[in-house]
Chain length 534, copies 2
Amino acid sequence: MTMNIHPIFIAGSWRQDTSSKETFQAHNPKTGELLPDLFPVSEQCTLDEALLAGKMAAHELQSVSNESIAQFLEEYALEIEKRSEQLAEVATLETGLPMHPRLLDIEIPRTTTQLRQAAAGARDGSWQRATIDSASNIRSRLEAMGGPVVVFGPNNFPYAFNAISGGDFAAAIAAGNPVIAKAHPAHPNTSRLLAEAAHNAINKVGLPAATVQMLYHFSNEAGMKLVAAPETAAVAFTGSRKGGMALKAAADAAGTPIYLEMSSLNPVFVLPGAIRERGESIAAELVGSCNLGGGQFCTKPGLTLVVEAPETDAFIGKMTSLFAATPAPTLLTASSAAQIESALNTLTGSGAEILAGGNPDPEGSGFQFLPTLIKVDGGQFLKNAETLQTEAFGPVGMVVVIKDESQLIEVVEQLEGNLTGTLYTDTGGSDDTLYQKVEPLLRIKVGRILNDKAPTGVAVVASMNHGGPFPATGHPGFTAVGLPASICRFAALRCYDAVRANRLPQALADGNPTGSMWRMIDGKMTQGDVPSAV
Amino acid sequence: MTMNIHPIFIAGSWRQDTSSKETFQAHNPKTGELLPDLFPVSEQCTLDEALLAGKMAAHELQSVSNESIAQFLEEYALEIEKRSEQLAEVATLETGLPMHPRLLDIEIPRTTTQLRQAAAGARDGSWQRATIDSASNIRSRLEAMGGPVVVFGPNNFPYAFNAISGGDFAAAIAAGNPVIAKAHPAHPNTSRLLAEAAHNAINKVGLPAATVQMLYHFSNEAGMKLVAAPETAAVAFTGSRKGGMALKAAADAAGTPIYLEMSSLNPVFVLPGAIRERGESIAAELVGSCNLGGGQFCTKPGLTLVVEAPETDAFIGKMTSLFAATPAPTLLTASSAAQIESALNTLTGSGAEILAGGNPDPEGSGFQFLPTLIKVDGGQFLKNAETLQTEAFGPVGMVVVIKDESQLIEVVEQLEGNLTGTLYTDTGGSDDTLYQKVEPLLRIKVGRILNDKAPTGVAVVASMNHGGPFPATGHPGFTAVGLPASICRFAALRCYDAVRANRLPQALADGNPTGSMWRMIDGKMTQGDVPSAV
């Protein structure tokens, strides 16, 4: 019987999850049918075993070089590239996302780029912020935490945010930690292939066997115990606000750092001059951005805010016709449509009016939903500011029509924390005064502020911030994308005070360990050595 | 009636707290008598007013230059120096700490040094970690959070950790945030003088009036509402584990970053070779460190771990006689003795034996407590590892006598998170093998590891880490001492994506704003400008 159930990747090897009492299958979102492969739902005892193995791996990793960790990340990127066709075939079946361009041309390259950037960060070592005061012989740096990092992956990026290959994974490994990956149950076979690729890379480089472990699924209750376990050093989660908040409560109570990316409406302000100048093209840009990936991007512009003016109706009319003309996308999971409908009920129940779409595609054969535009006025928004900021994770946008500039300020002040905030302004300068009023208020509500550009592109560059104030994330000081900054989340600051030279980590030795690592020595940033005592 | 009650410093001015329903007085710990000055206990409505003023100040501070903030911190240091005699007279009365050397020669200079280092950090701006990718025109930096930072100060350092002048204050201000300071009710008059000094400095530089506010006291319930208020951007707390955990729960539920420094036993391992080589001098060093400041330092070595050996008895005998010979210090507050006795009851109830002291000084006229040494064996420690790690905040040390090296490893693994961990080893190398076994396990339990040096000196240098894993603090990645690193706690990461040049913060402009600020431009650390496009 268990012969047909896929094994789990735990403590360095693939084995049947003999204590599992339940299996699950993924769906083909295009057809709504169950896929044949059976995967185990793991029990608490299996999670405990993963924790123990992860804790031992963390201990072993203390004596593994940055170079080996970098090599693993690079080998893993190569293993992924070797399997890219197979990965795309499996992922397109499990997610409904197209092989071209999305999976093969965009997401796999993004994933391997992240792994290689993490490798470069690990090799360079500057992310450790090594700081040395030579007179007092006190030295400190960020370093691996001392236990496994538990990563929960979302449903919407089967590679680039997968718990076993995405940005959180790459950052946690680059910092020198082992990872216990909780793959998303919507794409288990994709995750299985990735884990095989990771396993090969571990063997090639010779990292501790339990540096990477993966479980397909477990109960919410088991998840809470996992994040609160004393072995768990830190947690990363990308997903729904409900799931994130539950894990956050468990981690907070245990004093375990948790990095969350939960939900975001990504408000877009189209200022009056911009609508006058180029309303049609902005409408097209926004509707395209809102429907990218079936509207299931973290940075989907879900909230468009405009000020009442003669041109506003035409702008909204354009958005409406474009939404109506957009083909119904395939959603990621069997529960996606119900979640969107529940959110739409909340939104319409709070005064929003449906302009386009509003329900699953009646002609769809699987998990298809009609692109949906809703509208509410500013007064109504202010009355129900909390419920009208309910996220509908899918091809849904809301326009807020605001009476005047003073109501606009009130609306900005009612916004929750978001990943992004966008301001479209005219090129002639007529929006500048309003921009200067709105931007300082919007800035403190978001992690990334954009001008005249839709927010769905999250460039994999060092300066990217994929973060923001609560409840978009759990802490406004960190980013989940953008290396090497994202590595620092999974590190502890440790100081070596009067520690003998032969006992210091290489990064804190007098001699620069790489010849190029940036360190702060006696108050000065330098790539050099500690100056010799006179 | 209210004429005799000291005013509060709120929304830019000193005024009577007319809604206060209660007053309190500080004690003179030397005599146990109440001091005459009356201070108000503030009600929720006053805290709400402070939050509103703080929020407005945060908005105004967005357009204040780093240079002005630096000037304020420097002016404030000068104002403190001008008042140092008066500050010392008042603080010695409220804390029982000696004017010389502690208050005037050590703590005031430490405090002004911290303020000046924070000023240097603010002026330099490199703490913002400005990161620019010129090809994509994406730029990010750490910057002020957008609301007031609430700082709760402890009882044990009336200047250097005071909510209105200490390290948390300096760091929060340097990042560009306003501060709402909750002074410790054990030294209100000292805090009042400091607030006057801060007020003068604000006026001189012309910062927003509510950049600094101070309240003397409020209920625990009001404190929880304060940290959970939507206006509060972040919280810093130094104090007891009980108080810290209550505030942490409130802040966590609201999604507000909170930085805690709660409790720490600061375990010290004296390895066998070190005892053989220089047991007597190590005993003297440890007993001195344990009793510094009446044993009321965060980094007091409260736990000494030794392996049973022929020399161990003599080592413990030496510690015992030194504890017995140490004069009874004056504790900081009226409840200190009762808290120590309660902790001692827990410890002796879990098997610890009293070797010296154990009770308040019967000859003391105020809050004096006898220096107390207790002992437990390793087996007992492992049986009651949690209760035997109860902190006794005062002149109390515990020795754990461990059977052998394998039990030593078990004990290390049972240690909670601590600020520091110390290893004394011999100079000849006989302890090296054991060191290599213990250090990797100890390292992950502490924020600072020391060799052959007592942990109570917390040097104010960039490389210092005054932090550590939970429950010593709330997050292992941050330090409360050591500039500029401590500034980053009170900052949000913000990204400017395709933002027009004239709308960028100076720190992210093409030209280096100071000529010397470190930024990462196109992957390279540099003090230069963004290279001109070809």
